[in-house]
């Protein structure tokens, strides 16, 4: 189980803990299968993350990075390495920003290739 960002949660995933909104109100209980309707409600109530059974952030990132060629993945990672060279690599926030930057550039590349 691991905390997953709201926009990386998919219908069918199972909660490993209570899902709470920005003010700590419980929106959905533990052990529930998430539906499309739940996802809409989470977004509406400002839920930013949820504890999900059997999935972690690394799995989610991997799922995206596997969509492009390993060489492209390496090239994008190296570019990020250069861009982030003045930041503190051990910071949780920087780690998350780097992860999101990688996912975003992969998605943009996939979209550009699709056009």
């Amino acid at each position: 189980m691991s905390y997953i960002n709201i926009n990386e949660i998919e219908a069918g995933m199972v909660t490993a803990g209570e899902v709470k909104d920005i003010r700590g109100r419980v929106i959905l209980g533990k052990g529930q299968t998430i539906s499309e309707k739940h996802l809409r409600i989470f977004k509406m109530w400002g839920v930013s993350e949820a504890n999900i059974e059997g999935v972690n952030k690394e799995d989610i990132t991997k799922r995206t990075t596997e969509k492009i060629e390993p060489e492209r993945h390496n090239a994008l990672s190296e570019e990020l390495e250069r861009n982030f060279k003045h930041t503190d690599a051990s910071s949780m926030v920087i780690k998350e920003l780097r992860r999101l930057a990688l996912i975003r550039s992969i998605r943009m590349e996939i979209d550009a290739n699709a056009d």
Partner: protein, 286 residues
Amino acid sequence: MPTLTEDQASDFLQDCVDITSLPMLLIRLNNAINNPRSSITDIAKIISEDTSLSARLLRIVNGSLYGFPSRIDTINRAVVIVGTQQLRDLAMATSVTTLFKEIPDDLVNMESFWRHSVGCGLAAREIANLRQDINPERYFVAGILHDVGRLVMIKKDPSRSRSVLLRSKRDDELLYKSEAAVFGFDHSDIGRLLLNKWKLPSSLEEAVAFHHRPRKAVRYPLESAIIHLADVLCHAINLGKSGERFVPPLSDAAWKLIGLAPSTLSPIIEQVDRQFNEIIETILVD
């Protein structure tokens, strides 16, 4: 007592009359909003004199930034619904690009520059929204203005600005550090003085002044911290370019002061991506 850096920056800005004077309309708008006797109709009348500005403002208030259920078709109604200060901030945000025409484009790509600025404004606005701030528009305009000091430096002294770029590239140095080494001050010092000359609220001035040094902010530490984070975020996801090639270091103290969870970064980026094109098209229309 002003420091040596402030003196140098102030001397530098002295003869930039074309930039240091705001468009007449914005000055009048500012005065009207600061005058407790002016009515909503007075303010709407000033904005309505500029048809291009009015059209831009109506496009924004009817767009996804607000998502109002019914159409706002007059500036008068926009002032009532959005609020006078907020509309002034939006007017500022959508007019400032016109002040910086004729910048040599080998030193900075203006479109890319405004893309970074708009991204930063939207990110700052969204961070403020998540913190349930009552006036997120303040952050939008602060984000749009945070790097304008760099444009002044390029416009006034292209030769030394070129040295800054070369130095930063040669030494893999953060651009604001190269600026400080070459000029004796950086773009945030110039930005601060410029906003002061424009007589904008001191919260904006401080947010721009300390976006690379949020811990130095005395009166508005939160504003500075939010612009600092928004700037780091836009550099991280490569949204436009202000000239800087690197993601600036994130201040841990600023992050703690803002008090969001790292999991909010992803929704913030998504929201910025959703609103970005619409705002860019409105602002870069001319």
